[in-house]
Symmetry: C2
Subunit: 434 residues, 2 copies
């Protein structure tokens, strides 16, 4: 008998009907003879509504109290879910983050998990109960206060529970069938991957794929948790995210393109696109040692996450160079302020802000062993008449910046060029994938 951890997001428990549907799904898993532990998010827009209430009573809500407030959202959904399961004739018990032993740092709103002591969960499992745990929340031992984990918190809760309970698999349910070779809403011929390696998943997630949160995937890789990303709207198999030395539980094949039957393992696993970035170009930087250091020390101070950096060999004016970098759109204003304030000391000529860019990334572990992978990318884009503005690479990824308007066409062209196209169009559900 297996121990299965399941995570259901807010859209899966948005109302009484969806809660009953999820409850039935959990009961089916239990009836199949498995122990089941469920991490659940707050219902639908509950968290946003609570944030709105907080804003109405306090311009800057006290972080401790904000966590106390937000943590009530999961208490509602988990209690309702437990009731629904109970009324189907199965024992079910819900536990808050602290009851579940989810011990975190004291950083309210963005707490990190430091330990999981699921004593009460084990007791409940031994009693034959289905265990429901509030996602997104924990508590700090020193302050004895309730904390929340921040963005992607419920996924992380699920993976952390799977690790602590040594679960056989951690099923992350969303409104898409799994991980695709590209976003099916942009690339209709995208195919679902049976498996993807954790490192590939991290690159895909970091570069625009929205099905899983980086934080949860990282946690899973570090603790050897097998993630199964699947849809709460179908019982189809989804995509298994395989960490170091894991194998596909169905075929026990090593991670790879086991879904592309009769083909050699392709070099590229998937294509990701990202429209959330902006580009800043610092024009006419003195071409002397220390210029770049000065600029990025300044940028770092703003807390902005720099992604790509490109330095042109030549600038319009002699003895000077241009430095371009990409960063999240919302970080741009702050960075521009900082750079403008220090223009004299840095000695650059001007700033160019461009928030109409799109980033396309091809990811594949096979790149390690194959050369010329980039050529396919560049050729595909040039044939599509799409201009490349920036290029950056990692060991298993190549990313290019193009015009935002070109990103969809670029994704389709590149997906096809790497032979990833499926014969049939993928079914696309409404929703964001979260």
């Amino acid at each position: 008998m297996a121990l299965i951890v399941q995570k259901f997001g807010g859209s899966s428990v948005a109302d009484a009907e969806s809660i009953k549907r999820v409850a039935k799904r959990i009961v089916d898993t239990r009836r199949a003879g498995n122990d089941v532990v469920v991490a659940v998010s707050a219902m639908g827009d509950t968290t946003d509504e609570l944030l709105d209430l907080a804003a109405q009573v306090a311009p800057i809500p006290a972080p401790r109290e904000l966590d106390m407030l937000l943590s009530s959202g999961e208490r509602i959904s988990m209690a309702l879910l437990a009731m629904a399961i109970h009324s189907m004739g199965y024992e079910a018990r819900s536990f808050t983050g602290s009851q579940a032993g989810m011990i975190t740092t004291a950083d309210h709103g963005s707490a990190r998990i430091v330990d999981v002591t699921p004593v009460r969960l084990r007791e409940a499992l031994d009693d034959g109960a289905v265990v429901i745990v509030a996602g997104f929340q924990g508590f700090n031992r020193d302050t004895r206060d309730i904390t929340t984990l921040g963005r992607g918190g419920s996924d992380t809760t699920a993976v952390a529970l799977a690790a602590a309970l040594n679960a056989d698999v951690c099923e992350i349910y969303s409104d898409v069938d799994g991980i695709f070779t590209a976003d099916p809403r942009v690339v209709p011929l995208a195919r679902k991957l049976d498996t993807v390696t954790a490192e590939e998943m991290l690159e895909l997630a970091a570069n625009g794929a929205k099905v899983l949160y980086i934080r949860a995937v990282e946690y899973a890789r570090r603790h050897g948790v097998l993630i199964h990303a699947r849809s709460s709207f179908s019982s189809n198999d989804g995509t298994y995210v395989l960490g170091e030395g894991m194998t596909d539980p169905r075929t026990s094949k090593e991670s790879g393109m086991s879904d592309v039957i009769g083909m050699e393992e392709p070099v590229v696993t998937g294509v990701a696109h990202d429209l959330s970035q902006a580009k800043i170009t610092v024009v006419g930087v003195p071409d002397v040692p220390g210029s770049a250091a000065a600029i990025f020390t300044l940028v770092a101070k703003t807390g902005a996450n720099i992604d790509m950096i490109v330095q042109n060999v030549q600038s319009a004016s002699p003895g000077r160079t241009d430095i371009s970098f990409t960063l999240p759109k919302q970080s741009a204003p702050e960075v521009l302020r900082a750079l403008t304030a220090d223009q004299e000391s840095i000695g650059y000529e001007s700033l160019v802000h461009d928030d109409q860019i799109g980033k396309l990334s091809v990811v594949g572990a096979g790149m390690r062993t194959h050369s010329g992978v980039s050529v396919t990318l560049f050729e595909a884009l040039s044939q599509a008449g799409i201009n490349i503005e920036m290029i950056s690479t990692s060991e298993i990824r190549i990313s290019v910046v193009v015009r935002g308007d070109d990103i969809n066409e670029a994704a389709r062209a590149v997906h096809s060029a790497y032979g990833l196209d499926s014969e049939i169009e993928a079914t696309v559900y409404a929703g964001t994938g979260r």
Copy 2:
């Protein structure tokens, strides 16, 4: 510097605006140099909305999960209240029932408080913080599960905190100015009482007065807590409920009608009315020993709370008697079912169910030392042409059952007959008094 416990109900924190108003009131008390501990209910209709959700997912919600669900309501209101106070520049910390050390029995939905260990509250007070505690909830030590206290729970939470922290006063805020000699919505000339004894308050509450819950008053009397019932819409003094040996903190007079200047202490403190009762008459019961026992054993089995019992000496048929009793309207159907089922064994002739009755009660500690108190009542009613159907008395109370339609006129007539009328009409706020 005094320690003041304040309780605010759901209507006082129904939305962001009301929460800010309550926060300001708390801050004023704090600014005046007092330590403040607040017990707060869930916002407005939150509890009903949660109950509705529960009913949608489960016909009979699991009690443990129902308590988990309902307890989230106070977490929302208390966190918002703490934020609001915080944003006014005062330190404030909210605590759940379990964090506050509110230890209860394991009876979900109707838990009784067995101990209060407010360690964290004392720490917070020592740090100079305003303490906000979730009303209505606690936890059980053995099961480590969250419990709720049931009806009147938040009032009881406040009184229990006042007792455990040895507070100087427990202020129960509602939308009325305090305890009146009668319901001002029925008796316009009712006057607000400066003080009332706990035993009088218990009789008034038990017989229809709605401002305070019996349970909280009982707890306060047992633990020597001074209750101050006052309005959240004005800063006027309300009514102090004085237990054994307590004195009016303003006049340090013993409990009594210190508000009726220049009069002898009247025998009657207040008039209460109650339209929530029904009357059942068992007609033609064999006039032999054991008949009454048989009937009320049966009634007790249904769990119904019997109030008044009257046995007529004579019934229409010889050798038989009629037994009438009053009980809460909602209990009547169940009791009628039970009696009908056992008609043969009891041997009565028929049942009469009357849910159009009203109960009028006059309450006063002075009755102990004065005789002829009832005469005033009976004369007042007969002068008003109102017929009395049943009579019952306690040491400090006389109650009569009349037609429900007559109850308002009866209340006015009796209030006036006992010299309780004020010269001016009382201000009446909307709302139920809760």
